[in-house]
Symmetry: C2
Subunit: 215 residues, 2 copies
């Protein structure tokens, strides 16, 4: 009984590990060739697995796409959020969050750069569950940034007339632009530019108290 | 002889018109489903034409993709540049150029919004002639904006310390962000936000003389 359980647990662990390995390769393919370019066939080839082996993990192409989106969400949460959670609330936390996001994309090992930028450009014209999930996650991220901005206003780190939605429109734009310029034009200064623009846009909206956290 | 020429000219006009009609439909498909989603097969289906009829116009999928990119370039030049050419040099021209670009994307009838944004996200990880052409055209557009900024500095519409490349990084980012937010999140305020941010970023860098052209 014990050995059966051990063996089942080992199989399960092996299964989970394989699923994770599959998803890592799938996310890399999807970042460069698009989620639509991610087929059970070319993924099996990249992994040296059989198609039937893959179907045991993912019932359909859409299941596979949704699993890749979920992996990207997990990676995002594990990379971008922790540095901010360790930083004092208000403007310091918001600034850390934005820089940590920019760094995570700049250091991305995916061939296609930011997974969500590539996926959203690909799926914005394709209605369905994959598009809905990408939009939901992206909207949640922008809402989190706007909430961070409002918290910074309450703590008097940002001026009372600072427009949280407009500020975060700009800060979000700078990081997406840097990803685009680096990926398409090979612009190595792009993330440096984005960070400078983020700093300047927060500084303009900051109070004297808030400015100290941007040094 | 005369009637043969007339008949050949009519055929040529018919051929050219058909090529143009094909490309309009192809660009719409490509904006929503990607240039890679644009195949001779699905384009023939959308047009109610035979595949062989299409191959008479385009020898390969790559030829078709490059022709669609060239059509997008022509549309861009015909829509975005004329309003600026009628505006005085310096900051007025640069500001008109940016607003005219934003409007052209906001009013785009393509399902996928800005053709170049969709195409660059799709092709940044796919080396080859299509990617090279998209990068070349996009780079030329940014260079034109930076040149416009430098001209505005020479005419003392922008302050001597204005950083042309950084300003255009920001302005370009706002328009791309608006396209993204409208397409993915259905954000109807996005282009309004982008224009406000463009105005404010130019105003901060403008001299008293230059500010008059931003009213």
């Amino acid at each position: 009984m014990a050995s059966t359980l051990t063996s089942s647990a080992a199989k399960l662990r092996k299964g989970q590990k394989t699923r994770q390995q599959i998803l890592d390769v799938a996310a890399d393919i999807a970042s460069a060739e698009g989620l639509e370019g991610l087929t059970v066939g070319n993924l099996a080839k990249a992994l040296g697995m059989s198609k039937s082996g893959l179907y045991a993990h993912f019932g359909s192409k859409e299941d596979l796409q949704l699993a890749v989106v979920d992996l990207a969400r997990q990676n995002f949460e594990a990379t971008v959020l922790p540095p901010a959670e360790e930083t004092p609330k208000g403007l310091p936390r918001l600034y850390t969050l934005l820089l940590s996001w920019a760094d995570s994309i700049d250091r991305s090992t995916y061939r296609g750069g930011c997974f969500f930028a590539a996926a959203s450009a690909e799926f914005d014209g394709r209605p369905g569950p994959v598009r809905d999930e990408i939009a939901r996650l992206t909207k949640a991220w922008i809402d989190l940034l706007v909430d961070g901005c409002k918290s910074a206003k309450r703590l008097k780190h940002l001026k009372p007339n600072a427009d949280a939605a407009q500020l975060m429109f700009e800060a979000h734009a700078f990081v997406q632009e840097a990803n685009w310029a680096k990926q398409l034009l090979g612009d190595k200064t792009a993330f440096h530019r984005a960070k400078r623009s983020i700093h300047d846009c927060l500084e303009r909206a900051a109070t004297a108290k808030g400015k100290k956290s941007l040094l």
